[in-house]
Symmetry: C2
Subunit: 399 residues, 2 copies
């Protein structure tokens, strides 16, 4: 029964702090993450990470990305496609280089191919993977998710995910001597080919279902099942993150007539239970056990470089591809957030001996800091322009 207790505490703490966050004009997700930090092992210690919480959180982030996909404006997605790809490249390779340099600045430089060099390259690799879910939540909260900039950020993050996986495989391949990068790239390409091919059929099937059974439970539930299936298939068979699969499923259904009906039901299910568990879960993961001064300094530098590297890489390419200065900054800031992919990457590094367990602390701090600062910065950047009143999550109208 402890999972019921945990869930109750997480939901009430997350709600309370999200209301508090809004009072201070901060994004609600920041409040939810802080709630997790407060009740988690690093402070009060009344809730600890469990399999149940992790699984609920995973469903939460899958639903979030599915919603982002559902509300996509297909026309804008097509318009931003090329730019997003270039921005994703900038956001991968600049942090990769900066991360490697940072590591070697702290732990000594080594020639290309040496162990120090490889470890540095791996620190850079950890910095590459954007986790856009928090940015998506903030943009959604502000009602600018399917604008031009919002769409660019979301699609750049999706492409970034793919490039990140390729880089990871390449770096690990370099270390072990057999880089099967070709296979990884092939799988990624295959995934999108299958997803789009299947998507065309699925969309037709849903369109038929929708015309016969408009506004029914079977539409909402079948959509959710499709989203879960795509998340599972992406991760299990193609090595692509589950949230990418969920997002693609959402994009496939974004032109459905019942799109907003489905989205509303997913949204309610998500905010009632799953999404707060996801955001509070980030705070729950934090623990400050193995900390010394050098690691603390490195952690601080790691967080700054990782966040700055994305702003620089994505922002610069954004500027070069024709975005205005402020919009470039928004894109760069939106790409700053890191999530569980960074942790998974770190775990891979541990397994192949490119990383020691100490380095988990900076990675978790990066996830936490980027999760807290990105929303604040984004809200500031977007706020000056949104002339309409910022729609508040709390007083969502009943669709």
């Amino acid at each position: 029964m402890e999972f019921i207790r945990d869930l109750a505490i997480i939901l009430i703490a997350a709600k309370f702090f999200s209301i508090l966050a809004r009072h201070f004009n901060l994004p609600e997700v920041v409040g939810e993450i802080v709630a997790g930090l407060l009740i988690g092992p690093s402070l009060l210690g009344i809730v600890h990470e469990t399999d149940f919480i992790d699984q609920m959180a995973e469903i939460g982030v899958i639903m979030l990305m599915f919603e982002a996909g559902l509300t996509t404006d297909m026309k804008k997605l097509k318009e931003t496609g090329l730019k997003a790809t270039l921005i994703a490249c900038g956001g991968v390779f600049i942090p990769l280089a900066l991360g490697a340099i940072l590591y070697m600045a702290f732990y000594g430089f080594g020639p290309v191919g040496s162990e120090t060099f490889m470890k540095g390259l791996f620190i850079g690799t950890i910095m590459t993977a954007t986790s856009v879910s928090i940015t998506v939540a903030v943009l959604k909260e502000m009602g600018v998710l399917n604008g031009y900039v919002g769409t660019t950020i979301t699609s750049a993050a999706i492409i970034d995910d793919v490039i990140g996986i390729i880089v990871l495989t390449f770096v690990i391949g370099l270390k072990s001597g057999n880089a099967n990068t070709g296979e990884i790239i092939l799988k990624a390409v295959l995934f999108f080919a299958v997803a789009i091919g299947l998507g065309l059929i699925i969309f037709r099937a849903f369109k038929w279902l929708d015309s016969r059974y408009t506004h029914t439970r079977r539409i909402s539930i079948t959509s959710l099942v499709y989203c879960l299936a795509m998340a599972y298939i992406a991760e299990t068979y193609f090595g692509i993150a589950d949230i990418t699969g969920a997002y693609v499923a959402g994009v496939v259904l974004c032109n459905l007539q019942d799109e907003s009906y489905v989205e509303r039901r997913i949204d309610i299910t998500s905010y009632m239970v799953f999404a707060p568990v996801f955001f509070a879960g980030i705070g729950l993961k934090v623990s400050f056990e193995h900390m010394d001064l050098k690691l603390l300094l490195f952690s601080a530098a790691f967080v700054i470089v990782a966040m700055g590297g994305k702003v620089l890489g994505c922002g610069l390419v954004g500027r070069l591809t024709g975005f205005k200065g402020k919009d470039s900054l928004k894109i760069g800031s939106g790409m700053m957030t890191r999530g569980e992919v960074a942790l998974i990457t770190a775990q891979k590094g541990l397994a192949v001996g490119l990383l020691t367990a100490d380095f988990f602390t900076p990675v978790i701090l990066l996830i936490l800091c980027s999760s807290i600062f990105t929303p604040i910065i984004l809200k500031k950047l977007f706020h000056d322009e949104t002339t309409v009143k910022v729609p508040m999550r709390e007083s969502n109208p009943v669709k």
Copy 2:
């Protein structure tokens, strides 16, 4: 990631079979249970019971009972209170006696206090605990949950739960020689005292919240948290089933102005994910490994006596307390369903040596059969009277 796969399979199978069930004019929950049976270990074996599924199912049944509480008609609850208590008593003691006789008919009679007698008494004890969640789902599906008969069934089942716990403690106490039944009764009384006392304060708090923030997420989420907390507290501190706690929480909030707003949000969350997992989960538990002829015969007799005993016990007392013949039958049939409490009781019996593991099969069969037949019988009994078209779950209007 397997939990995502399991969830997707459960949701699509449950939806498909619930639609199919409706085509054959059967209740939808029957379809969902059959879906679990089909995909579970006894047939296809593509989904197996996991902690995750059990936990999701538990949240599902908690939400279901909370909804039943929320939609309670307080006036009818008060009117039916005394009758419901008497009906609950009839539904406990008749099956208790019949179960003991059945066991001894199969395995030999023994004098009062002998081991055979105690084992027989324990078989009877397993038969006592009604699990009303499935009946609630069916009555809700048919739109008669908060009618006079529906309210009587729900409150009788709640009282039944308490009496069942007392009987269980008494029987186990008889066996071990120290019956601390007094403590159990005290705890049960204390629970209802605390629940009602606290409920009055909680209701005022919610009323204030509701007047200031009507139709907001904080109302829905705080309500859900209150329900989860009551479920946890009931089971952990008072030895009362979690679903009883959830039901009481619902009753406390049933006069809230935003009651239907909250109920709608819980309902969506429940039917999108949790409820199908609960119903399919019943089917998942079934496996026919250890079966021989004698056990098969005993199982068949056990199922018939357990179901018939409730109809007899509750129906008879219902008739005596002034219900019409057909309404008494409805009440008796509504009380037939058994759930996880029967399994938990069986587990307790195994622990103290009053039961061998073989007897789990008849218990699971009872849960399965009563879960499948009760809805069918109830639908038949209620159908003749509902002059209005039976509201279908699928085409629920958007409130």
